[in-house]
């Protein structure tokens, strides 16, 4: 079973326990990015995580958005990279850029 399948299984299990769940997925990468396209991070409303979308650089920001979508915000495409205005805060030290799709499991 692939890592993505394992994480979707985990997301499903959390949801069935009655938790709120959001899924973040790397959809585009440029340059040297730590995790390949298709990498996933599953988050619940308490901030519990499974999987990853970076080496830890952007997880904090992704979890914040994940909580917003599980509270009803529409799915969002997040941009991270050194040229991004958020660079000082949550940029990728490796110099790569990534786009992450965040959606709720409902």
């Amino acid at each position: 079973m692939s890592e993505a399948e394992r994480l979707l299984r985990e997301a499903l299990a959390w949801k069935r326990e009655g938790r709120k769940v959001a899924i973040a997925t790397v959809v585009t990468t440029w340059g040297s990015s730590p995790r390949p396209v298709g990498s996933m991070l599953v988050v619940d409303e308490t901030g519990r995580m499974a999987g990853s979308v970076s080496g830890g650089c952007i997880e904090g920001a992704v979890v914040k958005e994940a909580k917003a979508v599980m509270e009803g915000a529409p799915p969002r495409l997040l941009d991270f990279g050194v040229t991004n205005e958020q660079a000082w805060e949550v940029g990728l030290a490796c110099g790569g850029k990534v786009q992450v799709w965040v959606e709720s499991l409902s």
């Binding site: 399948e5 997925t25 799709w101 959606e103």
Partner: protein, 231 residues
């Protein structure tokens, strides 16, 4: 994304079927495609099913531009497989090398004493006749087929089935002269020039390989090239 859609995706994977999640990044909608057919979600723009097929072939998720805006194709692909026909000396090198490169390897040889667990530990052995074995193994677009026996009685039936499959790589060991004769026999079985051109023969990149291990490297390198670079 809906719970029911994820359940259907995981069920398809348990049945061993390739699946693809399609995210419409503009609208936020999600579609599920299983084995090339849309099973849940909005209609897909033209060309998307072809792009999914190619993404599966490479096992590489990707974002594409379409009339409906950017779509993210997340593929859940079949494992890479290699079917080797002929439990010969070169197979003893090729089988473990291919396993290291991530292939699930099946070795087919009906001859007594060839495909034995002693000579080939840790690999699936099939002692059925190649046509029968190949029909049941059903090569798909994530499968490579390599024939090594040099014996038309064994190689030809395997190649016949491989040519009627979607196998991404078909290789046949043998000299140029052997290969020309082989193409004539397969042509007589009804395979046209386009089909016959799918066979890499003699199998392997031309790197001057001499020993069985070197020939195995040449074949595995060519499989990798077809998988990763072409198309």
């Amino acid at each position: 994304m809906k719970l029911a859609l994820v359940e259907r995706l995981l069920a398809a994977r348990e049945e061993g079927r390739p699946a693809c999640l399609v995210r419409f990044l503009r609208s936020g909608e999600v579609a599920l495609v299983v084995a090339g057919e849309l099973v849940v979600g909005p209609d897909l723009p033209d060309g998307v099913l072809d792009a999914i097929r190619e993404a599966h072939r490479r096992d590489r998720s990707t974002t594409i531009e379409t009339a409906a805006g950017p779509l993210f194709l997340q593929v859940f692909s079949q494992p890479l497989r290699l079917i080797v026909v002929g439990a010969v000396h070169i197979a003893q090198a090729l089988v473990p090398m291919a396993a290291l490169a991530g292939y699930a390897v099946t070795l087919v040889d009906p001859r007594r004493g060839f495909a034995t667990a002693e000579r080939f530990p840790n690999v699936t052995l099939v002692d059925a006749w190649p046509d029968e074995a190949m029909e049941s193994l059903a090569p798909d677009l994530r499968t490579a087929v390599v024939t090594l026996t040099h014996d038309p009685k064994l190689d030809d039936p395997a190649l016949d089935v491989a040519l009627r499959s979607e196998a991404f790589y078909i290789g046949a060991l043998g000299s140029k002269r052997t290969h020309a004769a082989r193409l004539e026999r397969l042509s007589a079985l009804g395979h046209g020039p386009a089909a016959l051109a799918r066979i890499h023969g003699p199998a392997g990149l031309d790197i001057g390989a001499v020993s069985p291990a070197e020939i195995a490297i040449a074949i595995l390198a060519q499989m990798t090239q077809v998988l990763r670079r072409e198309g």
